[in-house]
């Protein structure tokens, strides 16, 4: 009885630091692109976004999602630019765009804002 109580008491006093949260790395790792805008011009969609000059970006991932089916396509854009032009076999639908930055360790940033355009065919 005593052993059981003492064991429980010891366990009870020692459980404080066993489940501390790890250091949160992912929020400050890679800056995410901001203020994404998508414009449909002459069978192409021109994307523009902003990101700070100090961000260490290896490349960007541009994701296009078709509105009715939700099907996604991914493209890459070089790190030197803050704009991209997407040429695609568009159908008569809404398309949603988002951009993510990727750093040298292949860590993908938080997604930018979404921008949707209607593409008539």
């Amino acid at each position: 009885m005593w052993l059981l109580l003492v064991t429980l008491a010891l366990l009870g006093t020692s459980c404080g630091d066993q489940h501390s949260l790890p250091a949160k790395f992912h929020e400050d790792r890679v800056e995410s692109p901001k203020a994404l805008s998508a414009t449909y011009e002459e069978e192409r969609v021109v994307l523009q976004w902003t990101i700070s000059a100090s961000a260490q970006i290896l490349y960007y991932i541009v994701t296009v999602a078709e509105g009715s089916t939700g099907t996604e396509w991914k493209f890459t854009a070089p790190s030197a630019t803050q704009a991209d032009t997407v040429e695609f076999a568009w159908t008569d639908s809404f398309y949603t765009f988002r951009v993510e930055a990727v750093d040298a360790t292949d860590f993908v940033s938080e997604s930018s804002n979404l921008d949707t355009v209607f593409i008539p065919q």
Partner: protein, 185 residues
Amino acid sequence: MTARGVTGLTVGAMLWVMFAASDLQAEEDVFAERQIGSRKQAILLSALFPGMGQLSKGRKITGSILVLAELSSLATALMANENYRTRLDNFRRQKSEYEEMAAGDSQFDAAETRWQRLQKDAENLDNLGLTRRVFTAAALGIYAYSLADLLLFDGPKTTAAAGWRLRALPAIHGAPARLVIASRF
């Protein structure tokens, strides 16, 4: 009846009461020894498990409450402890997976999802740790109370403490059965 007769009867009654009281004292000494013996036994039983000593002394309600309270506190503390250990293993696994994500080749969304799950698990572990501490403390408290109850509040009662007593004595050595009011000072 003459005054001499009344005096004789009074003296006789007094002598009879004194003899009866001496019989009673002998009986109560044996009773007190038995109480001391059973008290030690009760303390030992309560040291083994709270409430058992009270039950052995015939205090069924107190004993039952203490036994049940101790059992439920221990069961809750043990269950919380087991649950804590299981969840702690899961928490550690997820924590190491999250830390591996920092090396790269991972995504913000996956890391955020994992982080939120870790936060929720940490809260659950906090609650389980608190439950375990509270019910362990309760079990210890009940244990201490059970012993203190026997040691401090359940001592052997002396005849002086008992005050006046009315006893029925059986017929002994030809003397008739009688009712005796007696007290010790």
